[in-house]
Amino acid sequence: METIFFTIVAAVTVLSGIMVVTCRNPINSALSLILTFFCIATLYVTLDAPFMAAVQVLVYAGAIMVLIVFVIMLLNIRSEVGRRYTHAGIIGTVVGFLMLVLTFNFLNNSSLTGAKGLITTDVINKIGHTELIARSMFTDFLLPFEITSILLLVAIIGAVILSKKKI
């Protein structure tokens, strides 16, 4: 049951991802992107990560996508993109196909199971998903968490420098 569900959701994710880059109309691309985000949120739910799913929907499918759609509308990109960027399309197809064959060969001869994590479904049910995230964020990954604040500061400065009319 779970496998079938995963297959369907994963297929929709990949297809809508392809739609994002192949759609002629930017609005369609944006809407496909929303679909992709929702599918990923669904995958988080199947992984027992409801908090991640909620954040994914709120932040990505909600806030960020609204911004993207707003920008598309404000910039008035109504006309279709005449041609997508197709530099060296044939070479890309050939190389991509070869890579695909290699990858399949590679995958057929080996197992994909990696290390089993410590945080199983039982642990999540006992302690709680949000608490687990908070614990690892403020203990093991405290430094990366702090670096993120510097990263955001730099991004803000950059946005102001590059786009403000008069500095």
């Binding site: 590679f106 995958l107 080996s110 197992s111 994909l112 199971t113 990696g114 290390a115 089993k116 994590g117 203990t139 093991d140 990954f141 405290l142 430094l143 990366p144 670096i147 993120t148 510097i150 990263l151 500061l153 730099v154 991004a155 400065i157 950059g158 102001v160 420098i161 590059l162 500095i167």
Partner: protein
């Protein structure tokens, strides 16, 4: 020979240990303070921000020097400030210092004199330092992001200039793409080993040998190699380099060609030597191919460039190739050569770019090689400086570039990669052509137009002085610096 091992004489590492990130903390605090100061001063006084950031860099440098030999680990082993990272931190600080010295004159000339450039350079340096001392894939990745985001902005800093805009946007798009590769590689490694700590990955692999045949681990290694190769501008991931280097403001080009490259190598070395020693046979083969491609593509394309910034861009690709030779060797001599070379490359390349800044005019960068006709006679001292930098880039003794290449290639020979060293030397010989072509124009052609009197600001003169010293002193007496580089990797 064990390199970059977890130091034995380490200070107690449990929990948060601010001593392990002291240089980063100092530099970020200074950068944030400068942002505030920037609001209160008018546009004629922006140069003071430059002086303040220079003071900040010197203070940070003292904290780096005082940490030498006393390794510190902190934040549950997500950073490790050992001699290896300290040596690289020194290199980053040197490149930021020299860059800031040449920035002010350029900004005034191009009328984009906004004070934010100095905090951005400092934040980029913080990102590089985190990459060098990160022992967790997350720390390395976020350090790389801090560095990259600052660089995207710095590349497009000259907003009124279309080429600068193009450089910023191109760098942003391709950089974001390559970051995706790197992050995907890290995710696959995490998936197959269950940890992001660099040392823990190695111990997991050594305890569970089966994981080596897991395609996820192999694909993760390959994707990370792609991501890092983009950052160090190795062929075939070098396509962004010439356009970005040409369009970006010249001082920022100097910075980009030195600091981030060194940071990329620092993280590349740390992840591959510490986390994936079990796959060394695989990745050294991969790096062999990358090194040969990078050297050859860089040098051959540089041969026919007429724009000097583009020429130096391709030359920087070629230099990444030489450094990859030392990395491929994977022994102590080659790796110490990488450290030595990145530091001396900082001096010679930023020095050369300082001269390019000088020759440029507002709106007219005078970037063609033919613009240098007669330069050596009109400005004998500047011409001599440029010749020293070019000789060093070409790897001619007694400049530091020669010693660096000597160690990189002898490392390769000791490790049994004789052909790699031969290809490297041949490439180095080919590169002499395009470096010396600039000198032929400087000394053997008559000037096509009258040179104006070049205004050399004191800070730019200081940059040239330091660069010449940094090229000649390690070139003539390399012992001290090489000793430091060797101590940096073996402790």
């Amino acid at each position: 020979m064990d390199m970059l091992q977890f130091p034995a004489n380490i200070a107690a590492a449990a929990g948060v240990n601010f001593a392990a990130i002291m240089p980063e903390v100092i530099l970020s605090v200074i950068a944030m303070a400068l942002l505030l100061v920037n609001v209160f001063i008018n546009s004629e006084q922006k140069a003071y921000l430059g002086y303040l950031s220079l003071i900040g860099i010197v203070v940070t440098f003292f904290s780096v020097v005082s940490g030498w030999g006393a390794p510190q680990s902190g934040f549950n082993n997500s950073v490790l400030q050992d001699n290896f990272s300290l040596f690289f931190k020194g290199t980053f600080l040197v490149s930021a210092f020299l860059t800031i010295l040449i920035t002010d004159q350029y900004l005034k000339r191009e009328e984009c004199n906004w004070g934010e450039i100095y905090p951005l350079i400092l934040f980029a340096t913080v990102g590089m330092m985190l990459m060098a001392s990160g022992t967790d894939l997350m720390t390395i990745f976020l350090g790389l992001e801090v560095l990259s985001v600052s660089l995207y902005v710095l590349a497009g800093f000259n907003r009124a200039n279309l080429k600068s805009n193009e450089a910023g946007l191109k760098y942003f798009l391709l950089g974001a793409f390559s970051t995706g590769f790197l992050l995907y590689g890290m995710a696959l490694i995490y998936g197959s080993t269950g940890t992001t700590r660099v040392a823990a990955i190695a111990s997991y692999i050594s305890q569970n040998g089966m994981v080596l045949s897991n395609p996820m681990l192999v694909a993760g290694m390959l994707l990370m190699a792609v991501g890092f190769s983009f950052k160090i501008a190795a062929a075939p991931f070098h396509m962004w380099t010439p356009d970005v280097y040409e369009g970006a403001p010249t001082p920022m080009t100097a910075f980009m060609s030195v600091g981030p490259k060194a940071a990329g190598f620092a993280a590349f070395l740390r992840v591959f030597i510490v986390a994936l020693p079990a796959m060394k046979a695989d990745w050294s083969e991969l790096l062999w191919v990358l090194a040969v491609l990078t050297m050859t593509v860089g040098n051959i394309t540089a041969l026919k460039q007429t724009n000097i910034k583009r020429m130096l861009a391709y030359s920087s690709i070629a230099h990444a190739g030489y450094v990859l030779v030392g990395f491929t060797a994977g022994n102590a001599v080659g790796t110490a050569g990488v450290l030595f070379y990145m530091l001396s490359y900082a001096f010679m390349n930023i020095g050369a770019f300082a001269i390019i800044v000088l020759v440029g005019r507002k709106g007219e960068e005078n970037n063609n090689v033919s613009d240098y006709a007669g330069f050596g006679f009109k400005h004998p001292v500047l011409g001599m400086c440029m010749s020293i930098f070019l000789f060093s880039l070409a790897g001619i003794p007694p400049a530091a570039g020669f010693i660096g290449k000597f160690y990189l290639f002898s490392g390769a020979i000791q490790a049994g990669y004789v052909w790699l060293a031969i290809i490297g030397v041949l490439n180095s010989a080919a590169s002499v052509y395009y470096y010396l072509r600039v000198m032929v124009f400087m000394y053997m052609k008559d000037p096509t137009e009258e040179f104006d009197w070049l205004a050399v600001s004191p800070s730019l003169a200081l940059c040239l002085l330091l660069s010449v010293a940094g090229v000649l002193i390690p070139g003539i007496v390399p012992g001290t610096l090489l000793d430091l580089a060797q101590k940096a990797i073996l402790m």
